[in-house]
Assembly symmetry: C3
């Protein structure tokens, strides 16, 4: 599909310059762009690429000499990275899932599927499940009994939504994402060694071998609007109350959200993050890749964790954290700089001891 430079700029709320009737079929990096591409040259360092490639039009940085760089047309956006959101949505060829309900889908007669929703081949929709208007359920998906998927949901191949899960509007789930697995909750007949270690910070007391009994997950999962869930990520159901995800939360791939967890609005939960059971996370929180958060903690609004931060205690609102165990990022940087100087410090202390104490007197 072709779009004119004029139409693209208009859709983005951006400025179009030059031969704005030129049309393009896609976007490309400047050096690899052909005449049918809109080159993406949002910073001055792309200037050389523009000269090297064959684009006639580009999204350029503010102040670019686009004509001098050989372009016939240009789009200038005040925040080019933000313009990419609208531009990429316009240009996305999608996955090509066919409209309508595929004849191989297995849909329970009591399910309520909106007329314009599409259900891909070999998907299963359970009893009394409700699929909202305009939803696209890809191939080989599963939506369990009494689950609710709001309007405009988009499930890629192999997504699984368990029974009684409730999801708001415009939900996006990548392949293999799973909502509503049972929580990980086991209990021993007598107090367990883990319970004792937690009380004592390290001493498990007298060891008695015990088998674990399963606590079933009676709660569900409730997810707000505009949530996205990455490939093979998991959100577990709650034990008694629901696991809750607010509006606008975006999960990357292979994230794990335990039972009873509550996450506020507009959070970013990156890849391979694990949040253990019953932890509460505020609004506008960012958990960097491979972050781990222990169970039963509270993470305040606007907290940011750097990659691989291991959060073992509550974090007040607004903190930027890093390390294992998590510290404030500036403390972490300072202590780790010091750690690298530690072998030298030890030599200095040894020299001091030699100078200050008579032989045999030191510690």
């Amino acid at each position: 599909m072709r779009h004119s430079i004029h139409d693209i700029a208009k859709a983005l709320g951006a400025k179009a310059l030059g031969a704005t009737d030129i049309s393009v079929t896609g976007v490309a990096e400047p050096a690899m762009a052909g005449p049918d591409h809109l080159a993406l040259a949002m910073k001055p360092e792309f200037a050389a690429g523009l000269v090297q490639g064959h684009a006639r039009a580009a999204l350029v940085w503010d102040g670019a000499d686009w004509q001098g760089l050989g372009l016939e047309a240009a789009i200038i956006a005040p925040r080019p990275r933000y313009a990419m959101a609208g531009l990429s949505a316009m240009m996305d060829p999608g996955q090509g899932f066919a409209p309508g309900v595929h004849p191989t889908a297995v849909i329970d007669p009591t399910a309520e599927v909106a007329d314009d929703a599409s259900i891909g081949p070999l998907s299963v929709i359970g009893p009394r499940a409700r699929i909202g208007a305009g939803a696209v359920i890809g191939p080989q998906c599963f939506v369990g009994a009494d689950a609710v998927l709001g309007q405009g949901a988009y499930l890629r191949e192999g997504v699984r939504i368990g029974a009684r899960v409730t999801i708001g509007e415009r939900f996006i789930a990548q392949p293999g994402a799973t909502v509503g697995a049972d929580g990980y909750s086991f209990v021993t007949p007598e107090q367990s060694s883990i319970e004792r270690v937690r009380d004592s910070l390290g001493d498990q007391g007298e060891i008695t071998a015990q088998a674990y009994a399963r606590i079933h997950s009676l709660g569900n999962v409730t997810i707000g609007d505009d949530v996205e869930l990455g490939a093979n990520s998991c959100i577990d159901r709650g034990t008694v109350r629901d696991t809750q995800i607010g509006n606008g939360v975006k999960f990357d791939n292979l994230a794990q959200i335990g039972h009873n967890v509550v996450i506020g609005n507009d959070c970013l939960i990156c890849g391979l993050v694990g949040v253990a059971g019953s932890t509460r996370i505020g609004n506008n929180v960012v958990l960097g890749g491979q972050t781990g958060v222990s169970d039963n903690l509270f993470i305040g609004d606007n907290v940011i964790t750097g990659g691989a931060t291991k959060v073992l205690a509550n974090v007040p609102a607004g903190r930027v954290m890093m390390g294992y165990p998590a510290m404030k990022m500036d403390t972490h940087i300072e202590t780790y700089k010091a750690l690298r100087r530690l072998p030298r410090l030890m030599k200095q202390v040894a020299a001091l001891q030699k100078a200050v104490f008579k032989p045999g007197q030191s510690d």
Copy 2:
């Protein structure tokens, strides 16, 4: 389904008080409970919630003034958390998978499926696979050739069991769990840089680029009774002998168990844990979330690792470990406290040097 307070208490081996003929349809947190709920108020801090909610009956802490809190009936259990196991099993509405064999399931004629087992829509059962009595195979599952699933197995949607895997009784697998992927085992024609780094602790010697040849996994996976496997978790097959999981082991979501690993009985393996190839783990071990264990190690009985512990060496029985690299938990706490005081220590040493050494004399 309704249960009377009397029947619930009897099933739990607990004490029922008051109007024990009151019946409930589910459980709820005290503040959110309605008249048809059994409120779960197992600690005194739930007292206010009981007053706020509308429950007529509750599971209460020992010594609670349940009548004073407005309840008509109460259940008192000696270890309420353990009572939750039985109570939640009674109250679990389940996933609503239909009994019987769904007509869209693809079952090899040589497979042996117990008469009362159920096979969900679009599941595949391979040649000579054996499915035990009372097993529930959910939708879109796969059970490979010659695999054996013991009685009472319960597979949620999209679980995959590879060829020749053998699993005991009462196995539970959450969505997307995978048993029997091939092990990760590759070899170079000449000694590789990894082999050299391991020998030298850091020096990879002369670098030669080599391609990797695949070592096929000829072993299988053998799993005991009462094992649970979390969503999207993986247990790989062995190279020559089987990967072995004992009885009563519970895996959380996104755990990765490499080839040839041996795990004893009654272990908890939490979310995002990775255990590398050929490591042996004893009985009653707990690996906290995001724990990593290197290959070819031995972890003794009753070892507990805190969240994100990285185990790079053998751990004797009974140890409680934490950190990267793993240390005993009390050592870890002590060294990390010290680490935070390190910048201050450096200033102190600098002041000492100034006082002790004449200018120009210090290190």
Copy 3:
């Protein structure tokens, strides 16, 4: 299937000794071997096992007194571990997937499937997808629109390949592996707190709550020849250009490769590794289990990271790294040894202060 010792040795380019017409049906560890097994006794420590077991023939270490150990035949290979590659390939019974196209597979009429390719039950092949000669697509797999799978591809159960992904020859994917999920890329209307934290190393400035807009992934994934992808691993599509994986790269289970990442040839990416968006990785790199690599970094050729290394900065070619944040492995070992001695060092400094400074004078 039976193989003679003579034929096995010939296939491996190894030396056969003794009664080389003895035939075997499989391999086993020495102590567990029966008369139809080839025992694998590649190191002298297996001598006792050979005596204990019932093998008539074994793959033995160079110089073994195989006759004295009771064997009738032996195979001696110059690098036994490498011989395992060929031997295990010969002996692999495989998954037993049936040849041909299963009648329940849903294949778009415009897809081009090689005549000798096999497609398992309940798999979906999208419009214009191309499946190469000799490919084996297992049960319940998905291959999206316009995707290309080279000859000899082998997909285990439940593998998902998104639209427009291009994969070379002899690709192997374990159960649940996913290629071509959308990248994790979001942008706020105004500069976000994450952007400010990156600029300031820790200060997120004035906090303003913002919602995230989605940047669609317009790029694809391009994968070379001889690549293997582990169970439930994920490789995301690129934003504008393709995510690129070279030849001979082997991924273990639950690895996560972000959008725009470029990986060279012959790398090992172990389990639970995360590589964030736009990072470039050279040739012959090894990322140990649970390694994390931040976005937009460059990892040179022949870099090796130990387990759980967290790479937060570029790494020059040839480095062996470890720790969080990543340091050279020898530095890491030195600093962590020092860290364990730190509490003692603190006592030494306190004693020095007491000796050097008069009371009240110290820091």
